[in-house]
Amino acid sequence: MQISHYKKLTLFLVLFTAGMLVAANAADSFYTDPYKLEYPDYFGNRISIPADNLTTKQGVYLGRMLFYETKLSSSKTISCASCHQQKLAFADSKAFSFGINDMPTKRNSMSLSNLLWVRNFFWDGRAKGLEEQAKFPLNDPHEMGNYLEQAVKDLQKTKEYPPLFKAAFGSTEITVDRLTKAIAQFERTLISANAPYDKYLRGEYKPTPEELNGMELFMNSPVPSKNIRGANCAQCHGTPKMYMELFHNNGLDSIPKDIGREEITGMQNDRGRFRVATLRNIELTAPYMHDGRFKTLEEVLDHYNEHILPSRTLSLSLQDRSNVENGKTLGLTVQEKSNIISFLKMLTDTDFINDPRFADPHLKKK
């Protein structure tokens, strides 16, 4: 079949333009797979994912690589995982942690589980959003050595990272912004929801009498006139996530050395107030409180039962609650304290601390 000269020219031009348009589009767009975050209904949907950092499989994988990446520290020995160890529910076992130059951190490393629901990070709530939080340890001279800008350059020179950044963000250019976004994406996947307590909520686990009594005491407020025993923990640590996003002074000191949230807000009412931390995996995350002053759960229960110290900002939830009519302290028995601890141990999620999806991806290569 003979095609006329003009028709050939037109066909060529059309194909050429089409080819250029396709190429132009392909260059700008990149394809990522959404990461489906799964959690029980009873956690509720008040999750926090910014519109400019949706959770993708590529972002999560990169974030996990970075979470365990010691190249992000100036000494090349510290990664996020140094103070946030999976087997301890992403906390560590020290009161204060030690960074690159063996200087202690100001406060106890918090456990990283179920951060998808948290909106104000750190003990004093100073960071709004995981992306903002990640910058703090990376920039801290005593934690990872204020090395972030240089680390970005170091990673750019490696063979493995630029392609991972391209997969997650569509460009091989590594920036501080993309680095912290990836870490945040990985952290959102750290969901702990399969402890014996969760199995109990699903009707799959039968608690022992001690655990059940501990649970009741945890959930109930004491009403001595009606013979109702209670520890009222749920006032602040209630809901299946085992925390409510509140800042309270829990009576650790009458005159706190660490003024907590007051440092951020400048308000006297916030003196000695710290974020109510989750009690999930609490058996693993000793020592306890913002300064790690309590080494055991027994010490914690003793504090709440007998040693709450007064101050202007002491939480109202911890005042005038007693199992004794007009009592000044909570008044639980030794057995009741022990039962509450039995219940707290129901919050240990062995699946979470062993989940290979959250483990160190660099180990395979060693």
């Binding site: 800042f247 807000t265 006297q268 974020r275 109202l316």
Partner: protein, 171 residues
Amino acid sequence: MKKNIFALTVLLAMFFTTFSTTLWAQKASKEAAVKVEGEVLKTLSLTLSDFAKLPHVEATMKDRDGQLQHYSGVPVFELLKLAGVTLGKELKGENLTKYMLVRSSDGYEVVFSLAELDPAFANRVIILADRKDGKPLADGVGPFRLVVPDENRPARSVLEVSNLIVRFAKE
């Protein structure tokens, strides 16, 4: 030599005085205020002294033990009006999808619809109180608390109110 030592001492004294005033300035804490913000024409930040100048009304509510308590404060409706929120004649159409989020400085939050704060819709007067039985509010309760009369639980009568945020519901 003596002149040099004297001059040095004066300089050091001046240096430390300046330095310590900076320290003092940092230690001085902020005055508690309630902020009205969001879908407003004018963001308000009211301290206790600002608030005291506004016309007050009384409101009562039952506490946890069922005792009646007497508070004095400003109707939330009046505070929102001051900030230029769409109330009264303007509370219609899409403005009825607005809510007011009350936040406490301890992080506690509850929500009200605009309509339940507006006398054009509801007869119950919800106030932001700064006094109880004629006295300032206690630590942990004040300086401002919400008083919502006639509710079966006091959970919405937020203590230590720091923010009133008006927004459109997102759907």
